[in-house]
Symmetry: C2
Subunit: 136 residues, 2 copies
């Protein structure tokens, strides 16, 4: 049993998670809504409610700097305490990683300040290696 164990997904949660997994990258809530209209979705709230739960379960991450959501890159999910994301501004690719050294530094700072951490957002913006290669 892990820290992020979660119950079976409901129908809507499965559909939303499926959209994100299939996309293989970030989607906005409204993009998900459009993808799921043929499955009966009609209103943003159906997407947001499912996303809330999926984020709670650790299966989906919210990218604050994009106002978008992405399926967790770790197969079983719940494998990591906190995740960081590198977002390529050329191709839109998102790489999820666990920045151990950074997390240690930030946790140390919080401890020294008597700041109790609930969650962290770490997002890098720039250009990925593949896009730099392609550039003339």
């Amino acid at each position: 049993m892990t820290a992020h164990a979660h119950p079976e997904l409901t129908k809507n949660q499965s559909l939303v998670f499926g959209s994100l997994s299939d996309a293989g990258g970030p989607l906005t809530a409204y993009a998900i809504l459009d993808l799921l209209r043929e499955d009966g979705f009609r209103a943003p709230l159906q997407v947001y409610r499912a996303l809330d739960k999926l984020v709670e379960y650790g299966m989906v991450h919210r990218l604050e700097s994009l106002n978008a959501f992405v399926a967790c890159a770790h197969t079983g999910c719940s494998a990591h305490g906190a995740a960081a994301f590198a977002i390529c501004e050329q191709c839109g690719d998102v790489i999820e990683f666990t920045p151990d050294e950074a997390l240690k530094g930030l946790n140390d700072w919080a401890g020294a300040q008597d700041f109790t951490l609930a969650r962290m957002t770490i997002e890098l913006r720039g250009t990925c290696g593949a896009c730099k290669s392609k550039a003339v």
Copy 2:
């Protein structure tokens, strides 16, 4: 001359920066607009355009997880390469700091991945020491 030298502020930029400085904490663009209506502001774009410049000059930071803006805590500004923010979810206070160890870790990761960094977002959410003391 620093990396973030900037020209004299225009009237609108000064008003927006003044609002943020006086507030001593984060404000949304629309909150700034309401504060500046008596100074003649009528439309969101007047705020957003000023904020764009102030962020470019390094005098204001955008808090992605709040969709809000805050005046840089460093008197002269431009003193830091990248900033991190600890946001207390109880009192709303924001503490800006420079997480050297975390920055080193993230820069190292980017170097190893051949990812060219343009900017970073580091935001901690939780409860500050003062609020924990107050709690019964």
